[in-house]
Amino acid sequence: MKSHQKYFTPSCSIAFLVFLSVLVTFSTSKGAEEKSALERIKARGAIVFCADPYNFPFSVDNPGSPGFDIEIANLVAQKLGVRAQFFWIDTGTRGGLGRALRNSILEKKCDTFLGLPTGKEAEEEMEEKGLVLTKPYFGTGFVLMTRETNTAAMDLNSLKGKKIAVEMSTPADWYLFKNGYERSLYRFVPEILEAMDKGEVDVALVWAPMAGSSLKEHPESKAKLVENYVPEPTLRWNLAMAVRKEDQDLKETLSQVLEELSKGGQIKDVLSKYGVPFYPPFPEE
């Protein structure tokens, strides 16, 4: 009784009140300090990915065959021990990717944006928008497709003078034009496939994801991607995910997880499901 009374002396009360206020201040300041991206994700129990719903074979709003980026996203979420959620944003309308980024990840509708190219120009644009890219999870580019059976010595140089089918207005189109190759112009990769099967053209320089997945859908086609063809240095890129600049912890974690998946062969497996050739990320120039 006497010690109890001694506990609540005036000076102690003041000290206690000071302690309380310090405690309160400390906890509110900790609350005002934003949770890190990973903490938010763990607390939520889910990681939200931004993806284009019309971007087969990358991503498409179709649970039956959702695209390789969606499947990779699911693997990433699994590794993080959370659910995967998706925020769909069309990147094909006027304003393109820029507008899509502004209206999705920059509005905090998602934690990360799937399937974006790396490289100097791309990274400058990311920088402008306050985004950063993870380490890339695979490489791709414009590859040779052919009807020929003997593809041993087939590289672009050996095709000088021969008509090469190419999708119009792509960098491959521009590359062939600038370097003096004979182009046969087509609007879309499926058209090139048709032309090849009709015998109109023997060889094409095509966007690997599109060509690979088109061939997968047409197993009867005589065309095939030239094995072991490595895309020209200016016609190849790596794909990564983008996060907001301030979410450095998420960037590091995603980079790590993606590297594990890449090294473990899981990314290659997912891509081959869609017929897309896997190249490990190319060395950045």
Binding site: Y54, G92, G119, T170, W174, R183, Y186, M210
Partner: protein, 573 residues
Amino acid sequence: MSRFTFSVIMLGALLVSFALSTPTPVLAQPPGVEELEAIQRPNYVTDDMLLNADKDPNNWLLYGRDYANTRYSPLNQVNKDNVKKLVPKWSLSFGALEGQDSQAVAYNGVVYVTSSFNKVFAADAQTGKVLWKYERELPADLYPHLCCDVVNRGVALYRDKVYLATLDAHIVALDNMTGKVIWDKPMGDYKYSESFTIMPLALRGKIIFGTSGAEYGVRGWIAAVDAETGEQVWKTYTIPGPGEPGNDTWGGESWKYGGGSAWITGSYDPELNTLYWPVGNPGPDFDRHVRPGDNLYTNTTLALDPDTGKIKFYFQYTPNDPYDYDGVNEVVLADVGGKKVWLHGDRNGHFYSIDRTNGKCNYVVPLGRVNWVKKFGENCRPEMNWPEKDVVYDKVTRDIAPTLDGGKEWHPIAYSPKTQMAYVPTYNFSMDLQALKMDWKRGEWYLGAKVIRLNPGNGALKAFDAATGQLKWMRADSTPSTSGVLATAGGLVFYGNPQGEFMALDDTTGEMLWSFNVGTGIHGNPTTFTAGGRQYVAIVAGAGGGGLWPLHYKEWMKTQSKGGALFVFGLSD
């Protein structure tokens, strides 16, 4: 009465009533006539009506009111003195968002209007009561193939039907009284990004329309189909194929992906029997080097034979275009300054008067600030201000005026034969532009351009003397003029802006006499007609659409919203 008698009387009554109820012909059959049949078709639109639409004050039957596309109405019930008494009479909600590029057409007291996503409404012009509605189930895989919003510019009226050109490249003929589908035919392949946003043109038994979608390297075309059956009558590609004149203006095979969309309704001169159809920009939009040459017939107005689609002559505004100065804007036929001309406000920032008998240029004047042209040469051919304002890969070219929106965007001008002035809605911006070897578009790299900046600017409605091109007056605005224009005999010029202001100006001075805010940006075209002896003015409201300007909507969207509706105004009682 005995039962027998009763029966006889009843039988008699029965016989009499039977005799009376037997139908007898009102008219005797004329001798020698096998069949006599007459079908009543209300609201039937004839060739005679369309050819004389300029002389019909009560209806609005064609895109530009008449085949000359003047957008001039002889109505003066609403005029400078009483326009202050103009009030909203009714409004129709479309139940649709995104850009509303349409306009109300009207015949005999019935208004027909379309909305985004290809809805069609028919309503009573006086009360707004919806008589019928058509909704189209667009295929789910359509949207990836569209470049520029889900707009539609309206239905064509002809005979007992209305004709809709759809986003999934069909033409649909609907019964004008019930909205029932009479026929529905695919005219293009939306999977290859062929799409329609145009109001088709009805002309002497044919329905004429052109494609959208040059963005994706679609080779554009204009076609005419039979109005009754939908069977193709003719089809003309806007980019000539091998062996055709003009094909050599495309280096190598670049003609294949020429672009050259034709999504604005053409004009027709019945005396010259010539159909004038505008054609848009080449592809790829910003790299002119992969398509060396003038690139005919992009950024051109074609003069066609309306019965065969054959090209008679043409005028090209911007050859080998690196700026996306889409030449698809409408042409307005006018007899002015002693000449038969067409008037045309172009994306490239200039206003043209071209002789419509032979394609020779009368004059070209700037619509506002322009710096990509050094001067104009033979037949108003622009001499480009290169290298200063050329679009290149290795650096940003700053301050190119105007932007690819123009000048003047697709929103149509009005020409008043009363004042002999052309009223032009203008945009006044400049852009910093760099061509990109690699533009990441939906999982693939394309050639493109990086519009670094849309520099601050504004807009104005400008009135030009149609005979000389001299600027007579202007009304400046802090936003570009994003609607079409209407001129009337009542001395009024109507137009709207992205802030939702629908305005009436004095046609001689530009003084603003009336305005009403419709609550969202205006992108459609105003029209006017009568019903029940009263004049109405109609405008479609709803922000959205393609182009650079909607990038500004981000700020605007913080307090405003999209939403499609039709507003109809009349004089207060």
